[in-house]
């Protein structure tokens, strides 16, 4: 494809994005699906364009309808290029980190930039810790305090659930991890998180787990948590 055609595609892409901001018709994703390589090339180039990445409405369409469909060779590089930018808007940064985390170890090149975000505000710290754990950051133990803090403090239940899942996924350092998990089983305000932890506990034969499950079975306010705690106790041989 020559430059003239690429320019045409770029123009059409941004026209459609602007139309999509006014009325959702999902025409952008249809368009990107036809030209995944070309659009990938365009977006990769564009992320250095400050006005582009600072336009939240425009970027929201890009996140939802463009990025999912661009060619593989541009996906991680685009996200990594984005996350390197220091003045990226908070919501865009958060979503970019989430997308990187979902790629797991394919996103290893983003690790240094994600580590930087561990020193940022609370929500970025939380999502970065989760992303680093998913990507397989080799110093997992360094992430444990951040994950425990996320489990305790994240506003969104799903983020807390992710933290719990990642904490139990490593068979190590239970002494540091368990108190936070037990505390969450008892006190997390969302039953979905508590039932998940109760379920995970069915496979963790460590000190304190059975007592925590028994307490949940006897005292939790939600019937699902009580039921799952009971199942987990049976799984542990009680």
């Amino acid at each position: 494809m020559n430059n003239i055609e690429l320019v045409k595609i770029e123009k059409e892409l941004f026209n459609l994005i602007e139309q999509e901001i006014v009325k959702k018709e999902y025409l952008v994703e249809e368009f990107v699906h036809k030209y995944p390589y070309e659009v990938g090339k365009i977006i990769y180039k564009q992320v250095q364009n400050n006005s582009f990445v600072k336009n939240i409405l425009m970027f929201s369409v890009v996140i939802k309808q463009v990025l999912p469909h661009i060619a593989d060779e541009f996906y991680i590089p685009t996200l990594t290029k984005l996350i390197k930018q220091e003045d990226l808007e908070l919501r865009i940064r958060y979503q970019t980190i989430q997308l990187l985390g979902w790629r797991g170890n394919e996103a290893k090149e983003a690790i240094p930039f994600l580590l930087r975000n561990l020193e940022e505000n609370v929500s970025l710290k939380q999502i970065s810790a989760i992303a680093l754990a998913k990507i397989g950051y080799e110093k997992f133990d360094e992430l444990v305090p951040y994950l425990l803090s996320t489990l305790k403090n994240a506003k969104v239940y799903n983020t807390r659930m992710n933290a719990a899942r990642l904490l139990v996924s490593h068979e190590s350092n239970w002494q540091e991890k368990l108190p936070g998990l037990i505390d969450a089983l008892e006190k997390d305000p969302d039953f979905r998180v508590r039932q998940k932890i109760a379920r995970y506990f069915g496979e963790i034969n460590e000190e304190g787990v059975k007592e925590a499950l028994l307490k949940a079975y006897n005292e939790d306010s939600h019937p699902i948590v009580r039921t799952v705690a009971k199942t987990s106790l049976v799984d542990l041989g009680d």
């Binding site: 999912p68 797991g104 939600h222 199942t231």
Partner: protein, 360 residues
């Protein structure tokens, strides 16, 4: 083979709409489905534990979504499906209450000039009976179960040429309360609607002089038939996913020998989307959905059909949560971004009831 080579090779494989099947793919036996195995497979954690068995210990009047009313609603929504005994009859329905003798006109002729019209008519009729979407695929024996849950062989009569795939969009208000018993209403309604739609459509086709086999979940795999019929693609959560409603669609089908035109399959980029999105996997109440970046031929349980390239769901784990939940779960359906295009975000069951009661 190096990782790079494997990646290159698997890049060419597709999940849907074109299925990638390996040599070890075989037609599936419904005896091996979850609902078949719970009756005979002692290796299952949920052997002889049925979906509603834990309801008495789960019901809690202090917990919205798990009250007696929620459970009664979920069960009642299945009424037409459960009590319309002949909904899925392979034969023409007869009724002793018919006052008028049945008239048998000549077989309706379908030829090259009117096949398009009759195809559209079938779709229009299905929608009049309540279908939200209708697609038509060639009859494909590989999606037919070899036997039912009771191990009775399934023998589709010779001459079936088309599979009419039907989807009904499920109620978003209740699905958005998942996990809860309340959301069981959406599934149950879907099943009851399906019983009415396929039985009526089958009677319509029979009225034209052709054969029709109406089916709910039984007899054949609804999802690949729906993909072949152009209704959607298969998502990370293993369900048929449509562009407008995600997987918030109940499927059923009718096999027939009336000549019909076939629909094209659709590809709206779902596989690429699912590769980069793991919302359903993260939200799944029992981690039954794969977190793998790429699909594969992996299977987890006997209830996974071998030899199909996809993200395979550990259906044993999925069902384990249904039992603990006192009924089905639709969390993966509810959180899917495609569902959220037309459906609602998570709603607390208490808020759902507050709104419904305020409307009265």
């Amino acid at each position: 083979m190096s990782d790079k080579d494997i990646k290159e090779k698997t890049k060419k494989l597709t999940v849907s709409p074109e299925f990638t099947l390996k040599d070890d793919f075989e037609r599936f036996s419904e005896y091996d489905s979850i609902f078949g195995r719970i009756k005979w497979d002692k290796s299952m954690k949920t052997y002889k534990i049925f979906m509603y068995d834990k309801v008495p210990e789960i019901l809690d009047e202090k917990q919205a979504g798990y009250t007696h009313i929620d459970h009664a609603l979920a069960i009642a929504s299945w009424t037409v499906h459960d009590y319309f005994r002949n909904a899925f009859s392979w034969e023409k329905l007869g009724s002793p209450s018919n006052m008028m003798p049945d008239v048998k006109p000549e077989k309706y002729e379908v030829n090259d000039t009117n096949i398009g019209k009759i195809t559209n008519t079938i779709k229009a009729v299905a929608k009049s009976f309540g279908a939200s979407m209708v697609g038509i695929a060639p009859y494909d024996e590989k999606w037919v179960y070899t036997e039912d849950r009771a191990e009775t062989p399934i023998d589709i009569p010779e001459g079936m040429t088309a599979a009419i795939a039907i989807g009904t969009v499920m109620d978003s208000d209740t699905i958005s309360t998942s996990p809860s018993m309340t959301q069981g209403f959406a599934s149950g309604m879907g099943y009851s609607q399906m019983a009415f739609i396929v039985s009526s459509l089958a009677e319509f086709i029979r009225g034209l002089g052709y054969r029709a086999i109406p089916m709910g979940n039984d007899t054949a795999l609804s999802i690949p038939i729906a993909v072949d019929a152009g209704l959607g693609q298969v998502g990370r959560n293993g369900l048929l996913t449509t562009k407008e409603h995600g997987a918030r669609v109940r499927l059923c089908k009718v096999f027939t020998d009336i000549p019909l035109k076939f629909d094209k399959k659709i590809d709206f980029g779902l596989t690429d989307y699912c590769r980069r999105c793991k919302r359903c996997a993260e939200a799944c109440e029992n981690d039954a959905i794969s977190f793998d970046n790429e699909p594969s031929f992996k299977t987890f349980t006997r209830s996974n059909n071998k030899g199909i390239y996809r993200w395979t769901v550990n259906v044993d784990k999925c069902y384990e949560f249904w039992v603990d939940n006192g009924g089905e779960c639709s969390t993966c359906i509810a959180v899917c971004p495609f569902n959220l295009r037309s459906g609602k975000k998570f709603t607390e069951p208490a808020d759902y009831w507050e709104r419904r009661l305020a409307e009265q």
